[in-house]
Symmetry: C2
Subunit: 423 residues, 2 copies
């Protein structure tokens, strides 16, 4: 028995560059929560999750109910969370479809605790987390360069912080960003966040990337920013293998199915298939050929493995989605991805966009775009408590409590709506 003695849930904020997307622009601070699970024998484990108020309050709400539970009893912990977590009011607008509030809440809250418990289990057994998931099938996990259109600096902050990446508002700017990022990280594939400019302008950037990086697989993700009609019109632009996959061109399973019916380019999603409840319809419609998994909302690392089995069964590709995150999440992603044979695409990560860290030793190193799967017990990272305190202080002072790219963009452009499809 290894019983949970206490749980710490610490909201943090860290610098985030002015990255553009179809909804608007990233605010000056990204929010996140660090979860610590401490056991009676004095071992602790780490989790990292979203930093919106809803998630923070749910994480805190379930915490006392986990005290006295065995960290190995992940299934019972999931059941406990399901039983005690307060779901948002159906009128809150957070319900994706009738009945989905629990189907999206429980996996999200459980995931943070599952990772922390797996970290403890690894430390107790002297095993890296991947060994508690059946062991790695690769020694390192590939990530992709995640390019964004961006301004040089935030237009509406009180301080003078400027990220190191510079402006990128043209094909040339995107190519320069790619060169810099690939120069530093060695990524072997490239994703362009799109939906910001006219599609043909963005495709110019893709083609410019193809010229400079003829061997690297390319992806483009307009976040459902294109109509079905527009997407169909654009498809010839992607001929001759320009794309490895096309991510969420149009919004929703119906639209994606309509696009899928007229192209051989694999369609990927992290938007219209975000939980098991979405899968049957997606398969029926043949709406997606690649699912971008994300343990933070699919229900943890084991749930990600179960998704992999499901993808293998229906011959659906599997890759990994990312939000702004720090090293605990990167390590959790790396351990899970290392164990999944059919996770054959390089995973997405926002990691290069963050300068700060909450783990000892600072930012995790990439070699040729890959993260080495650690052999250390647990996740293989330790909490830097000074850094945690500083980032928690940021959270208190930053004034942001919900990520909202739309309202941030409205500061730049008064009539901004941020609705999709835009084009």
């Amino acid at each position: 028995m290894s019983l949970i003695k206490s749980v710490e849930v610490t909201p943090i904020a860290f610098r985030d560059p002015p990255l553009l997307n179809v909804y608007g622009i990233h605010e000056a601070w990204a929010l996140r929560t660090i979860i610590e699970v401490h056991t009676e024998e004095g071992v602790y484990g780490l989790g990292e999750s979203y930093g919106d108020q809803q998630t923070i309050s749910q994480l805190k709400q379930v915490a006392p109910h986990l005290i006295g539970m065995d960290v190995f009893h992940l299934n019972a912990i999931r059941q406990k969370i399901e039983k005690v977590v307060t779901l948002p009011d159906p009128k809150s607008g957070l319900e994706i479809a009738p009945g989905t509030l629990g189907a999206t809440t429980v996996p999200r809250i459980f995931s943070a605790y599952e990772v922390a418990c797996l970290d403890v289990m690894g430390k107790l057994t002297g095993r890296p987390v991947c060994d508690l998931l059946g062991g790695k099938v690769r020694d390192e996990v590939d990530y992709s360069a995640y390019l964004f259109y961006k301004y040089e600096r935030h237009g509406f902050t009180n301080d003078s912080w400027v990220d190191k990446w510079g402006e990128a508002l043209t094909p040339e700017g995107i190519v320069a960003q790619a060169k810099k990022m690939i120069g530093e990280y060695g990524f072997q594939s490239i994703k362009l966040k799109a939906g910001v400019f006219e599609p043909l302008e963005e495709i110019k950037a893709l083609k410019a990337l193809r010229e400079v990086f003829p061997e690297l697989p390319l992806r483009i993700d307009p976040n459902g920013g294109w109509s079905v009609e527009m997407t169909k019109k654009l498809l010839p632009e992607f001929s001759e293998g320009l794309l490895q996959y096309l991510e969420d061109p149009a919004p929703g399973k119906v639209a994606m199915g309509e696009v899928s019916a007229v192209t051989d380019i694999p369609l990927a999603t992290n938007m219209c298939v975000i939980g098991y409840f979405d899968v049957p319809e997606a398969i029926e419609r043949d709406a997606v050929q690649v699912i971008l998994s994300d343990h933070h909302y699919w229900g943890g690392l084991r749930a990600t493995q179960e998704l992999a089995r499901l993808c293998k069964t229906w011959n659906i590709g599997l890759s990994m989605h990312s939000n702004s995150h720090l090293g605990i999440s990167l390590m959790a992603m790396t351990h899970a991805a290392a164990t999944i044979e059919n996770l054959t695409y390089a995973c997405d990560t926002h990691y290069p966009w963050q300068e700060e860290e909450v783990i000892k030793g600072g930012k995790i190193k990439f070699n040729n775009g890959a993260v080495v799967v650690p052999d250390k017990p647990g996740l293989g990272v330790e909490l830097d408590r000074e850094a945690l305190a500083a980032l928690a202080e940021n959270y208190k002072n930053c004034g942001i409590r919900e990520r909202n790219d739309v309202t941030e963009m409205q500061k730049y452009q008064l009539d901004w709506q941020g609705t999709v499809p835009r084009f």
Copy 2:
């Protein structure tokens, strides 16, 4: 690191009563294989699998390739088996459909080793196997009474062994068998193996069971022995909730889909959905509402959990299938079933039909039809080496090398064919 030092694969045979089914009759000996995985630190783990020559030779063939591998590296072990195992000749008749030889072989061979490795992992970490699968969600696992039509004794053996169960060839005989078995084991649900006599005669037995056990859920399994037409004609006999589920009335996914379309009675299968490769078509046809999982051929305990996720996603019920087996398999089933929330039906087991054991302490006890999930490290059972030697001696002497209920039945009835559907 906990490296595999040696592997033992021991074929065994134990007494099996003359149980009747649609194919014919059980032979006097049931075959099985006991797998031991020994690590360099002197810990061993147990697996149990089929005892046909094909399985034995494949288990032995892969064994030397596992030496030096880490018992925690289950995914790598599966990959290794996939790489080195020799698949049967496609002309052998063992291929279910083009391309399925690997899809049925690898899970079957891997499963035996996965269980043995999990047993070691449990012993090394001081944790029951269920804790390595996310922990139990129930303290005991329910099994069902598995009734068979049977003769009093085998007609064609050289010795005088007679099982304790007596003849059961009529509704009264089946009721008497149920009373005896439930008296000893306390089972809370009942399955009747059918396909032996005219369907209406067998349904008489079901209705007699319903009278004597008004509260217990009933199932009937003719092993695909009925045609679709016959099954449709019989459906009114199952009205008023006589059945918890109807198992494999007709053979194959097409036939099951046709039956399913005209009844609300859940259809269960362990015949037309025996691996992940069967699932997409089964779902498309809505051919089955309950899958009877079996870790021995679905690919182990974690693969069974993955199947559970898949069943939950499509709202398909989940229960467990059984062949003749001993206590190592029973414990593996119990650990897996304990961790699966949506395994809500009592599992099948042939266990009462076997008198012998290969584990210390003899036969595992049932309370009210349930097996308590052990808290001991690993599976919670230890090998009785004297018993193993005796059962291995049985194997050498029994003369049987492949289970064949058809040829055994031909001894009783010269023109027996054993083809389905029979009725």
